[in-house]
């Protein structure tokens, strides 16, 4: 128990320190990009949100396999919480992206492959969260969610490679020829923001797992009280 509380405190402290540093780096340290100017700075949160959302769904993928193999409900609990955070971050990608797109492309949305596949990813994992409401059997729901979590993850590499496989207007981060010019200071800022969001993800996951575990404990207690009355 003590180790858990210490880890929580360390994570919270690290996150509380990292967030203002990331804002300093974004607004004061990183230079203005040549073509997009001020709007390019959305990239420093938009890209980490996307990458950590992929991480969250990868965690779900791994835990779903573990659940199917071991049938241990704890993997379902953690996977469910990881989906909640992944959906939150994916939703934020779909909000920050259009806010950037409006002044740059002149439109809020386009049916570009990267945007469309990300929207599909978001909707699939929202679907995952709804599975519990379709069955009262915990074991059955966990199994369905595990299979869904494995299949839905197939969209993540599709989102990632969509800008290489299809014609797209979405900027590429890594390709210096056709993408954005990234200076060393921009790289440092981006990497630090990725670290910040990784810490936020870890902290949110621990909080969410605690809530879901307490929820399950309450359910089991209610069930056992119900059985005693019968």
């Amino acid at each position: 128990m003590k180790k858990d509380a210490l880890l929580d405190r360390i994570l919270l402290l690290a996150t509380v320190i990292a967030v203002p540093i990331s804002l300093y780096l974004v607004f004061l340290y990183a230079p203005l990009e040549k073509t997009m100017g001020l709007m390019q700075k959305i990239f420093y949160y938009h890209v980490p949100l996307a990458w950590i959302c992929f991480l969250a769904f990868f965690v779900v993928f791994v835990l779903s396999i573990r659940h199917l193999v071991t049938k241990d409900i704890k993997y379902d609990i953690i996977a469910h919480c990881s989906v909640q955070i992944g959906v939150l971050f994916c939703g934020l990608v779909l909000i920050t992206g259009p806010i950037w797109a409006r002044p740059i492309w002149g439109v809020w949305w386009s049916w570009d492959p990267r945007l469309t596949t990300t929207l599909i990813l978001f909707m699939m994992y929202v679907g995952y969260l709804l599975i519990d409401s379709f069955t009262s059997e915990e074991v059955k729901a966990a199994r369905i969610k595990a299979v869904f979590g494995i299949v839905a993850f197939m969209d993540v590499p599709i989102v990632w490679y969509s800008i290489k496989w299809w014609r797209t207007i979405h900027p590429m981060v890594r390709d210096g020829k056709s993408g954005m010019n990234i200076s060393p200071k921009m790289h440092v800022t981006l990497l630090f923001c990725i670290l910040t969001f990784t810490l936020i993800y870890a902290l949110l996951l621990r909080l969410a797992v605690r809530v879901r575990t307490t929820e399950k404990e309450l359910e089991y207690l209610k069930d056992s009280l119900g059985e005693e009355m019968i």
Partner: protein, 49 residues
């Protein structure tokens, strides 16, 4: 030119605010739910004993 810069500044502020508001709301909901669940659990444990 100045109005474009101001417009872009507000777009930027909206994007960052959305991130903080959404994550903040999620954390707040988690804490609220945890409080509520712990109260229910305590009440049930007391009634069981």
């Amino acid at each position: 030119m100045k109005s474009d810069l101001l417009k872009n500044f507000w777009y930027l502020v909206s994007a960052y605010s959305a991130v903080f508001v959404a994550i903040g709301a999620f954390v707040f909901t988690l804490f609220q739910k945890q409080d509520q669940l712990e109260r229910e659990l305590d009440a049930l444990k007391k009634s069981k004993s």
